[in-house]
Symmetry: C2
Subunit: 335 residues, 2 copies
DNA sequence: CTGAAAGCGCTTACAG
DNA sequence: CTGAAAGCGCTTACAG
């Protein structure tokens, strides 16, 4: 059907071995003249190398597989850009696979699609693998890295933000702006090793260091969704206790913001919002959402670097406060 | 390295042929007992089929390659969901390739990555191919479909909205709400065959039918970006001529909205906004943006259906007005 | 600098 | 129901 090196060999009179050598540029094993003829003929015939065949014989691959949630994780673009950049620099290719929305079967299909062909390794983009699927992965002998999710278990490689630091720094920032009654909303605290629990721990630490006594209704758990933000604010509204809230994601922050809008609560005059992530969504809404911003691009770049160099390692990327319009300083007034 | 059918053959005493037959489930060519033994051994050994080898010998593939812009086209998720759904139903796999942001080289790399391995076909997700890259594609003999982009050239297959209808229906809707001075903003009119030009044509047709004389400053061209919206509104602000504007995308609409916010123009009291696309962004901002909504999910689903069935065809998917909060009816007042 | 040959992991007529 | 053999498109020692 499509043209192969055999066709080129026939056309030029050289052997397939020679054709293969010039086409894969094994410099020094052929004369300039031969190369010219073969390359020309390849172009003329519209030759496209069949990488599947190459990968089969060389037993190695230049493609990294990225598995992402189809969930609206609005930061995945940034991570993928970072991955793409590093892959490009290293002359690797990247293919992206959707793993559905926390669906065991979809995850398994995405995993199989990756595992059933020659690949360099797998990058899991904030996908929380079901145990059964993690088992498939670990038993495959293919290197893999989690991005934007961290683990206690140091057998698993991850590149993420330090979630405890996120909680700690976010809270400290709000305290530095004069807030004392600070909510934390939209995060999932259940799994003791994970994101939510760590952030909450950092939050409590900052409170403690500032001598603030935590009240249980300051914590409004959720699933990082817009709806979590809406619900959280409704609960806060009942108590009218807090002056600032840390949202677990930008979407949670927007949920809170919009519900404030509906209930005629002025942000930031009556309630300050500090959101987590700092994606472009923060600048789309009014007032713009201040955030504790994660370096997603860097996560992508770094994880790909590790994968390519086969560095079995974990790493934290930087976090920083981005001041926009949704946090009010109480200090000026207090003074 | 990893376990092959040869290993299973050795382990079970059957030939690789038999192993192959049961593992690829060529029903009727083996006994239940044999199957049981082989499947068991495969599981025990952690066998993973090497699809690259299979594809090499069968000369066909079950993977559809989707090429997307890394540009913030915030509707691509919906399209991909539709693709994924249909692919799943047909037992096909999908891999996604990023083609950068209107970058010739990135496009070429994405294309090569797809073309250099066995695939079923290619779906181009609102990527405006450079001529050189289109040439590569067409000469490859692999079926491909454009999604969310239409062409005059009927040699190219596309699944998209009817852009002239978008312009026409959007304008008619605004006219039905009593608006007469209607802007259209953020679209690119240059390439005569494309999206922007068609929408503008539909817009003009609706105006004409309503006996409204178009004024040239009602058209503010752009590139479908947030910034286009901001700039457009600044220009409108100078003339204070229009009561409603059709934004070329949700981001354009938000750019207009936020600039209104800055200039203390009340939406929709002083200016109505009808945005194009109708993604989730419309419901994130306040007031929520009314839109002429495209059926992106369906585009994905339909194009994948065509690709799998090898239907050489074009199709338009439905469009509809989604009333939210950003369009004011002038009729009540007029009455 | 070039070619003949073996082999990567699979599938599938052909024969039995 | 099962096996021996050829072959998919490539690469790479080995020989010359």
């Amino acid at each position: 059907m499509s043209v192969t090196i055999k066709d080129i060999a026939k056309e030029t009179g050289f052997s397939v071995a020679t054709v293969s050598r010039v086409l894969s540029d094994k410099t020094g094993f052929f004369s300039q003249q031969t190369a010219a003829i073969i390359n020309e003929t390849a172009a003329k015939l519209g030759y496209k190398k069949n990488m599947a065949a190459t990968e089969l014989v060389t037993q190695k691959s230049n493609v990294v597989a990225v598995i992402v949630n189809s969930t609206k994780t609005n930061f995945s673009d940034q991570i993928i850009n970072g991955i793409q950049k590093k892959a490009d620099e290293a002359e690797k290719r990247v293919i992206i696979l959707y793993a559905g929305d926390r669906d065991e079967r979809s995850q398994r299909i995405a995993l199989s699609t990756a595992l059933e062909r020659p690949i360099l390794g797998i990058l899991l983009l904030s996908v929380d693998l079901f145990p059964s699927n993690l088992a498939i992965l670990t038993s495959s002998n293919i290197p893999f890295y989690f991005i934007s999710i961290s683990f206690k278990d140091t057998m698993l490689n991850y590149i993420a933000s330090d979630d405890q630091e996120i909680g700690y720094q976010a809270t400290n920032y709000l305290i530095s702006q004069g807030h004392k009654n600070i909510g934390i909303a939209g995060l999932n605290i259940e799994n003791s090793a994970h994101t939510g629990a760590l952030r909450f721990k950092g939050y409590q630490k900052a409170l403690r260091e500032a001598g603030i006594v935590f009240k249980s209704d300051w914590l409004q758990t959720g699933d990082y969704s817009y709806e979590s933000g809406v619900t959280a604010l409704q609960n806060y509204y009942l108590k009218k206790d807090i002056t600032a809230v840390i949202a677990a994601s930008d979407l949670v922050g927007i949920g809170i913001l919009n519900e404030c809008n509906r209930l005629k609560i002025n942000v930031p005059a009556e309630l300050s919002i500090l959101t987590t992530d700092g994606t472009s969504l923060c600048e789309l809404v009014r007032p713009q959402l201040s955030s504790i911003t994660q370096d997603f691009y860097r996560m992508g770049y770094l994880s790909t670097t590790y994968l390519i160099n086969n560095t079995q390692n974990n790493a934290y990327t930087n976090i920083a406060i981005s001041q926009r319009q949704s946090v009010k300083s109480l200090n000026k007034i207090d003074h």
